[in-house]
């Protein structure tokens, strides 16, 4: 069995002086040197210019990146999210997916990572007090998702606005405090905690 590296075969041209044979005899040593100097004179400023331009471009790009960072609106309610910002930024979809299965299949509805809760705290209201869809341009979900170029499918089925106040007002009163999805329960619980 042939193991290990195959031995290199040396070709006839390399053995007999190699490439020098192909240089025409008319080019003298002196001419060769002067050509090298000329090449250096031409290339050095070109290299310096290239480096400066590249650096400029990089700086410009970094600047524009900072300018294009998504402006994420602050949550309209609450002081604290259900987990730290770093965790939510990286893992919110895993948390939501995990709880989604628990809720739909098993009927567990008391855990914190609910899409309804996200909407309740993060949806903004316009100047007339009307809720804005959380997936509208510049809103909490959309601002970051458009920056990251990730399509949000949640809100083709799920409500993108919190439940309307009049609906909550008509709800059975004993449920208002306990239902974590209502603004009333949030306000009552906040008051109780304070």
């Amino acid at each position: 069995m042939a193991c290990g590296r195959p031995k290199l075969r040396v070709g006839p041209s390399q053995r007999e002086g190699g490439f020098t044979d192909s240089v025409p005899a008319t080019v003298s040593r002196m001419e060769n040197q002067s050509m090298r100097i000329t090449a250096l004179i031409v290339c050095l400023p070109l290299c310096a210019f290239g480096a400066a331009t590249a650096q400029g471009l990089l700086l410009q790009r970094a600047g524009s990146q900072a300018e294009n960072r998504p402006v994420i609106p602050k949550a309209s309610k609450g002081d604290q999210c259900v987990a730290d910002t770093e965790i939510m930024r990286k893992d919110h979809m895993s948390l939501l997916n995990h709880q989604r299965d628990e809720t739909v299949i098993e009927g567990i509805r008391s855990e914190p990572y609910s899409l309804v809760s996200c909407v309740n705290c993060h949806a903004q209201t316009d100047t007339s007090g009307q809720a804005i869809r959380i997936d509208a341009e510049g809103q909490f979900c959309e601002s970051c998702h458009s920056y990251a170029a990730v399509k949000i499918d949640c809100f083709t089925c799920h409500a993108a606005k919190p439940a309307a106040m009049e609906v909550i007002g008509n709800a059975e009163p004993h449920l208002m405090r306990d239902n974590p999805h209502t603004l009333v329960s949030y306000l009552l619980n906040k008051e109780a905690n304070e």
Partner: protein, 248 residues
């Protein structure tokens, strides 16, 4: 015949449940999120079997309180083409041509124990919860509509159009199949909370719909069934429905 796939499905559901529980435990152990200690509510249990009893003698022709209650609760638009709009509950009027006897009754998903819709679903999106509620997991529904063809009660609807302004508690969207959920979001939330149809029927002073646990001999639904009995629609199919009727 139909019991074999149901048993298989039960097994796969149990396996999935175990897997999810495992995931949950692993997650709990590895993550130190401050809010994970929120009260763990127990999952739907097979100790319960939720069901409805409809007393047809209390149900009057022309009354559609249950349908309105359902539509309001789930944000279903009752306008539009009858062939394509979503109908979770239908009011049916029957007339016996021989005797002239007339009966009116609501028909919705019958929450079968051996549900044909669950048997035929290619993705497992149509499933039965441990407490007997038959649901569509819209996250995995591909809109093939096999379940609609398999359902002997014509209880399922397909959403043909893009929807907006859904209710937070009732996510609904184009390209998926849906049907009566027995208002799981309400019954999971609090003990003794009734589905919207039963609430509306009682509000409008008919009280023709009783909701409760069929496994609990002391529940009002079991008591009523025990004293006066109750029949299934298409009992010959032996689906063991969770919705029973009196006076049919």
């Amino acid at each position: 015949m139909s019991r074999v796939p149901v048993a298989d499905n039960e097994k796969s559901l149990q396996a999935r449940r175990r897997f999810l529980q495992g995931l949950g435990l692993a997650g709990m152990a590895s993550m130190s999120y401050s809010l994970l200690e929120v009260k763990a509510k127990t999952p739907a249990s097979s100790d319960k079997r939720w069901g409805l009893l409809i007393e047809t003698e209390k149900c009057s022709s022309g009354c559609d309180a249950c349908v309105r209650g359902c539509n309001e609760e789930h944000g279903i638009d009752d306008a539009g083409d009858d062939l394509t709009r979503a109908q979770w509950i239908r009011k049916i009027d029957l007339k016996d041509e021989l005797t002239g006897n007339e009966t009116s009754l609501p028909v919705m998903c019958q929450h079968c124990e051996s549900a044909p819709c669950v048997d035929v679903c290619p993705t497992g999106a149509s499933f039965k919860r441990a407490d007997g509620v038959v649901l569509v997991n819209k996250h995995t529904c591909i809109g093939c509509r096999y379940c609609m063809m398999a359902c002997p009660y014509k209880a399922r609807s397909f959403i043909h159009e893009t929807l907006t302004e859904q209710k937070p508690s009732a996510p609904r969207g184009k390209g998926t199949v849906e049907s009566c959920t027995l208002c799981v979001h309400r019954i999971d939330e609090e003990q003794d909370r009734q589905p919207a149809c039963a609430v509306k029927c009682t509000e409008e002073a008919h009280s023709a719909i009783t909701f409760g646990d069929l496994n609990d001999p002391d529940s009002s639904i079991s008591q009523k069934l025990n004293t006066l009995g109750g029949s299934q629609i298409r009992a010959d199919l032996q689906l063991n429905t969770g919705v029973r009727y009196q006076g049919l």
